[in-house]
């Protein structure tokens, strides 16, 4: 099937945003080494989060006017579902906000000693997974089922890889356990809460993959795919803030 112009431009935009995010992440890493200036890191994180919110999570769809005034129609319910999902994300953001506040309160401008290579690797894995998630959603919205399935599959694999990297490797090789001092406590709490969300996202992806393979989604009706994508990107946004908070800002304890 030849790609329609809208589809290729949507895919191009997805790639562009991904490249932007990758460059910014590299910049963050370099800045943390060279400048140790947390205000700049915060600015970059906010900018990255803004990019994901706008281009990957389509926050502007919330404010689109209703095409159909009938409360029972699919279009109207879809818009209601979007509002419901976003309200949930707002609520969820308060947990992660609370964890960040706790981290700042307890550790200030110090951080636990962690493996920087591993940190950058899992961050990259999550970022790349977000790119493929976006591709999969774009493909579904334009009716390209093969690319959709491929995208979901890659995202799922990368999600599991991230989990393996954090829980399977980072937690095992860290020089401290959850009971060793407050830095350990906050590190395991933040990565643990985040990993739990990644895990639910992975389960969500499995459900979408299964139903996608059975052809249950169409160009018009694929709310589950969209919800899965938005949720997955949200988990990514959380990591955009958690990564510098745990790995980059301040000095090693």
């Amino acid at each position: 099937m030849p790609a329609s112009p809208e589809k290729s431009s949507a895919l191009r935009m997805g790639l562009l945003i991904f490249l932007g995010l990758a460059v910014l992440t590299a910049l963050e890493f370099a800045m943390a080494i060279l400048l140790a200036f947390w205000q700049l890191l915060l600015l970059v994180s906010l900018f990255k989060a803004g990019l994901v919110l706008y281009y990957y999570m389509h926050v502007s769809r919330l404010f689109e006017a209703d095409q159909d005034a009938d409360h029972e129609s699919y279009a109207y319910r879809l818009a209601t579902n979007r509002i419901g999902l976003w309200l949930f994300l707002v609520s969820d953001a308060f947990i992660f906000g609370g964890l960040l506040i706790s981290r700042i309160n307890l550790l200030g401008l110090t951080r636990p000693e962690l493996n920087q290579v591993l940190g950058l690797s899992v961050t990259s894995v999550l970022l790349i997974s977000s790119f493929f998630m976006n591709r999969a959603e774009t493909a579904m919205a334009h009716g390209d089922r093969r690319q959709f399935i491929r995208g979901i599959g890659v995202t799922l694999f990368l999600g599991m890889l991230f989990l393996a990297g954090v829980v399977g490797v980072e937690w095992q090789i860290a020089a401290f356990g959850p009971g060793d001092g407050v830095a350990g406590a906050i590190f395991y709490a933040m990565t643990g809460f985040h990993a739990f969300h990644v895990l639910t996202g992975v389960i969500f992806l499995m459900v979408v993959l299964r139903n996608g393979l059975r052809g249950r989604y169409s160009v018009e009706k694929h709310w589950a795919v969209e919800a899965c994508a938005v949720y997955w990107h949200f988990v990514d946004v959380v990591w955009i803030f958690f990564y510098p908070a745990l790995y980059l800002i301040g000095t090693v304890l």
């Binding site: 419901g84 707002v90 964890l99 309160n105 959850p178």
Partner: protein, 611 residues
């Protein structure tokens, strides 16, 4: 017998027992496999209780449809209604009216349990020295009284928001009926887990659960934390549902400033419960983790900070009191015009005042911590932000006075409760600023004065409006009107005794009685006052018994309630009682102002096909 086991609730409870046993067994097995001593009560019981709660949800059928969606099956708009009559209240239902009544009943049950706890330790306090409770029992009952009542209040406001919001805005149901059923049913295991702390060693921290004390309290503490965390999900998802429903499902013509005031109040409440609730959950879960895995968030020996807990805790728990009272204050504004036959005074200001209280409420939590050792420069900003809450609250009082002014007042039971709630809430409001002001709070902190102030706000802002609304909408829910004479009896039992109770609480508080204390020195001379409070407490208990007799009697023997009983303009009274299954057969359109009582020719709604 077979029918008994077909009830969703019974199935859910059986599943919960199985799940708890499995969870306990699983943890024990894992510990055995990795070579630890097999039995350790705390992790096993916590995991068991958590798994039991999840199993309950599966057993009761609240998550059936989501599993069906996950495997790609379509589902109907409602569950198969295999249980007609009273049975449908004992199983998962998607109808917001059924869920609202389920919430109401559970709330009343918990209110009775919490009240019973209060009467038990109140009796202990009537005389100096310990008579029949141990110190641990006293502490457990006193702490559980607080949290059981809070959960009861959360369920009570959820009851009215569920039952009323879709009716008032003309929706067929909530925006997410399955999430609605989930929100209710998770509250049942949450309540059970919370109460199970009584039998698992109790706890002694009060309802606030501050570490470091809570980090080394008996096992009951964990059940308290877990129960509250689960109840929090009920509140979060309930709030989400209300917000989505109000944003999306209003009748045509119902612009924001034509919504009933109760809907505004529900909106403001839901904004708080959606967001802030996560932080009490987080703070409690952090203490749970500290106890389970030794994670030292609040352990100074490990570099932790106990005051951080208080910040996280109060960031929810102060706005939470607005969650408790805003719906009640909304109900006052909603019902007052009906009984004075006059428009609500200053509608727009009242609508905005609910939002104003909710938003300012996010900025005041530090006033609970003036004595906690938080940075001193924070005290004055928190003092001023707290005093600022008086402004939108004052707007409400001004509006109530303006509404009642020269009205044609009739004194049915709901109206009596409304008037009492205004007076009692005023008492609670006026006793607030001394606590908000740093210089006086340093003296009043942790005394019975605070207890008196708090009970005034809760009774004025929740209990009295709760009963006013129940007397008002009971005919809509059941088709039977509550007996008026028994209603008046309940009112005249509860109101004077409550006012005496709260005033005497403040009196002994000002004289130096500490809160949460099981015993006091006879030389302080509080014995007579405590006896007065205990007697008043029992009279309040008696009034509740009168209420339950009234419900039973009216359902059995009461005459059917027909038509627009209170001559209300609200849409739900324009159709039959009890409400038809899908609410309005004919959709309506909003054509006028909601509260234009007494204005000739004015119309609020018009049903389709009607002139």
């Amino acid at each position: 017998m077979k029918k008994f086991f077909a009830l969703g609730l019974v199935r859910g409870l059986s599943w919960e027992i199985i799940g708890t046993a499995l969870g306990i067994g699983f943890v024990t097995l894992v510990r055995l496999l990795i070579g630890l001593p097999a039995w350790k009560a705390e992790p096993a019981v916590v995991f068991g209780a958590l798994l039991g709660a999840l199993f309950f949800l599966v057993g009761v059928g609240a998550v059936d449809d989501w599993f069906k969606w996950a495997v790609g099956r379509e589902t109907g708009e409602h569950f198969d209604d295999s249980h007609p009559g009273w049975r449908r209240y004992f199983g998962a239902s998607l109808d917001h009216k059924v869920i609202g009544i389920q919430y109401l009943v559970l709330s009343l049950i918990l209110m009775s349990v919490g009240g019973l706890f209060a009467l038990i330790f109140r009796t202990e306090l009537a005389e100096v020295q310990m008579q029949f409770l141990t110190l641990n029992q006293y502490n457990t009952l006193m702490s559980l009284h607080g949290m059981v009542m809070i959960v009861s209040i959360l369920l009570g406001i959820a009851a009215y928001m569920n039952y009323l919001v879709p009716l008032l805005i003309g929706a067929r149901d909530m925006a997410f009926p399955r999430l609605n059923a989930f929100s209710f049913w998770i509250a049942v295991p949450a309540g059970l887990i919370l109460l199970s702390s009584l039998f698992l060693g109790g706890f002694d921290t009060g309802w606030t659960g501050y570490p470091p004390l809570s980090a080394r309290a008996p096992l009951g503490m964990q059940m308290f934390f877990l129960g509250v965390s689960l109840a929090g999900f009920s509140s979060i998802f309930g709030g989400l549902n209300i917000l989505a429903t109000v944003i999306r499902l209003r009748a045509p013509g119902m612009t924001p400033f034509k919504m009933p005031i109760f809907v505004w109040a529900a909106l403001a409440t839901s904004l708080i419960s959606l967001t802030a609730t996560q932080l009490i959950g987080l703070s409690f879960q952090m203490v749970m983790l500290q106890r389970l895995f030794g994670m030292g968030f609040f352990d100074p020996a490990k570099g932790g900070n106990p005051v951080l807990f208080q910040h996280l805790f109060w960031f929810y728990s102060h706005p939470a009191v607005y969650v408790f009272v805003l719906p009640g204050l909304g109900l006052i504004s909603e019902l007052l015009p009906v009984f004075v036959r006059k428009p609500l005074f200053g509608y727009r200001w009242v609508a905005m005042s609910s939002l104003g209280i909710a938003l300012v409420g996010f900025l005041v939590w530090g006033h609970h911590m003036f004595t906690s050792g938080m940075a001193e420069y924070l005290r004055v900003p928190f003092m001023y932000s707290t005093l600022l809450v008086a402004v939108p609250t004052g707007v409400k009082f001004f509006s109530w006075v303006g509404t009642v002014w020269r009205g044609k007042i009739t004194f049915e039971t709901p109206m009596l409760f409304l008037l009492a709630s205004i007076v009692v809430f005023l008492l609670g409001g006026l006793t607030g600023p001394p606590n908000a002001t740093v210089s006086t709070d340093l003296h009043l902190h942790d005394t019975y004065y605070i207890v008196g102030h708090f009970h005034d706000t809760m009774f004025g802002g929740y209990i009295f409006p709760f009963f006013a609304a129940l007397y008002f909408w009971f005919p809509k829910m059941t088709g039977k009107r509550l007996n008026e004479r028994l209603g008046q009896l309940q009112f005249w039992l509860i109101t004077p005794s409550f006012v005496v109770l709260s005033l005497w609480m403040m009196r002994v508080g000002l004289l130096g009685m500490r809160r949460r204390i099981a015993d006091y020195d006879a030389a302080l001379g509080f014995e007579a006052s405590h006896l007065v409070m205990t007697v008043a407490g029992f009279l309040i208990g008696l009034s509740l018994i009168v209420f339950f007799i009234n419900v039973w009697y009216s359902l059995k023997k009461g005459p059917p309630a027909i038509g627009n009983l209170w001559n209300s303009r609200s849409p739900e009274w324009q159709v039959a009682s009890p409400m038809p299954v899908h609410n309005y057969d004919q959709p309506f359109e909003v054509v006028g102002e909601p509260y234009d009582y007494g204005l000739p020719g004015s119309q609020y709604i018009r049903f389709k096909g009607e002139k």
